[in-house]
Symmetry: C2
Subunit: 359 residues, 2 copies
């Protein structure tokens, strides 16, 4: 078991990474005792790992309840969130109740937001079971639900007590979901660590084969980079935005096609290609970098061309991005490779990028 | 204009109290400039004070939008909250957008919660126009919406940038609403300051006549006591709960009858009588104290007997109170007069209190 600390003062916590942690007592030691716990999961994950998690935490709580939400980004909305509140209130769960998020990014984001709001805040633990959630969404305390007019528009910064990444759960992950998770792994290269990008290029086959050693390295290094960034800028005053490389274009794709049509990681993969193309046009990287990143995204099994939503629609969708200010869209760009920053770009240039990368 | 500071470290702010502040530039000086602002109000208050507020803040923002919610506690729910998010997104409001809560406790609680959640947090200003909101709900950062199974169950601790109490707005407050606000004023006596209780007894007629001097003193002293308590315990780890004297019984009345049937302050007035009766049975105050408080509540125009919901229903409703732990209800009790604390009570004793005080 490896431990990656996230240093956030009194909100500090650890990410535990290892194979078989659901059955490993030491991964759960030290979590609070309470009358009640609620495991929030989805209908796909519950039959696979629900019972294991309930067993792992049984000694900590007098009663462990479970709510299984419908699966998928299309359900990351208020009515589904409210099912968590219904379950908490129907069981008269008090302020000490611990929530456990067992599933992917959607389950983690919703459970975290429910924990932030229920009785104005109860503790929660992330138990991510997808690659995307283990390397990105479960770490750092961003929680949210979607609004029809924009992704992750309603949420909170709210840190978990702990993140428990059991790599064994990745064995059952469908290939499409796995590839989507690789997008967020790849992301850490261009924004922070080109040596890691090289390692991913060299080890992609081992990752796709779910080799435990390769997975352990990819998850740990991803979490280390994210921990470093979040530790410096918990509430995204500046630096943290670099973790959103590819996401401004990606969110527009997800929202424009309807949530769930493309997986979040698929949209981010394609969005990184667009972000690299924009970086090139801004003179920050050369064409070879764009080709290299595009090749890796394709090899990971992810789309590299965006859907033909039309440039006007893309621009409208991106203007409500959380990084926008006063109607000006701000993009995360890369350059030199291994470093990222945020800046606006002329509409005409963005239209050129969309023309080059979509349809 | 009087200023009451709330000391909460980097979240510190001031409560400004005076007559005519909506038209007083100095009350708005120093608030942030931004591209957009959203005034959240209700259909009753908007025609009375909406234009004045828009004028007061016009110099701070390029565009000031307004959303007027339906009036009343029955609308303190998700669909109504979502109208705030709709307005923000339809106007492409960014992360720097300032929200202004113009209205009573319902508007303030919903606006604050919307500000806490929109893009994971935007700044907001409280502009309370009811006595209840000026002396209690606008101060201290508690925000929430109701759930059918419990009051204020979904919310956040989220502090405003400033609270601007224009006493002139109390002139248009219906008598029933004014009396409801008096409940929260009276509350500060038994829990913290019996000299203030004496002052209220002596000045009740002046208050009901909306005498500006009397109002200014009542609002200021109430805010001072609340500021003192909140400054010591922002997130209700302990002490802050004393501000909820009368509220455990009161919330059960509101929820049991259906939100909006009794006003919040009416339920709290009656709840304080029940809380005093419980304190007496626990040996903390004498019968004369209960009679004195009951007489003042009645003189303020508030109900002193609870509705006949049945003891079982009261107990069920109180068991989901946020102060309950492991199914044990914890009541705020008074004793000696001027001091309060939180403790459990035997079910049989609570049933005796309900039998004595309801129907």
């Amino acid at each position: 078991m490896q431990r990656v600390p996230i240093a956030l003062g009194e909100r500090s916590y650890e990410i535990l990474i290892g194979t078989g942690l659901l059955a490993d007592e030491s991964a759960w030691a030290g979590l609070p005792q309470s009358a009640a716990a609620l495991v929030v999961t989805n209908e796909t994950v519950e039959p696979l790992y629900g019972a294991q998690l309930v067993r792992a935490i049984a000694a900590h709580h007098k009663a462990v309840h479970t709510v299984a939400l419908p699966d998928g980004e299309a359900h990351k909305d208020w009515p589904t969130l409210n099912r968590i509140f219904d379950a908490l209130l129907a069981n008269a769960c008090d302020r000490k109740t611990v929530l456990y998020a067992l599933g992917g990014g959607v389950v983690g984001d919703m459970t975290g937001f429910a924990a932030a709001c229920y009785m104005r805040g109860v503790p929660f633990v992330q138990v991510p079971t997808t690659l995307l959630a283990q390397v990105d969404s479960s770490v750092g305390g961003k929680t949210a639900i979607n609004h029809p007019l924009g992704k992750n528009m309603i949420g909170a910064f709210y840190q978990p007590l702990r993140v428990v990444c059991d790599l064994a759960t990745l064995a059952t992950l469908p290939l499409r979901e796995f590839a989507a998770g690789l997008a967020e792994v790849i992301k850490y290269g261009p924004i922070a660590d080109m040596a890691f990008l090289e390692w991913i290029e060299a080890n992609l086959a081992a990752l796709v084969a779910r080799d435990p050693q390769a997975l352990a390295h990819a998850v740990r290094r991803s979490c280390e980079i994210k921990a470093e960034v979040v530790g410096q800028d918990e509430r995204e005053a500046g630096l943290r935005a670099i973790l959103n490389f590819g996401h401004t274009f990606g969110h527009a794709i997800e929202s424009g096609l309807g949530y769930g049509e493309w997986l979040h990681g698929e949209a981010v993969g394609c969005g990184m290609v667009m972000g690299a193309e924009l970086s090139k046009r801004l003179g920050l990287v050369d064409a070879a970098f764009v080709e290299r990143l595009t090749a890796l995204v394709a090899k990971a099994g992810l789309p590299t061309r965006g859907p033909a939503l039309g440039a006007d629609r893309y621009l409208d969708l991106m203007r409500v991005d959380k990084k926008a200010e006063g109607g000006e869209i701000r993009f995360v760009v890369v350059g030199p490779p291994g470093q990222a920053s945020m800046r606006p770009a002329p509409d005409a240039m963005v239209r050129d990028v969309l023309a080059a990368c979509c349809g």
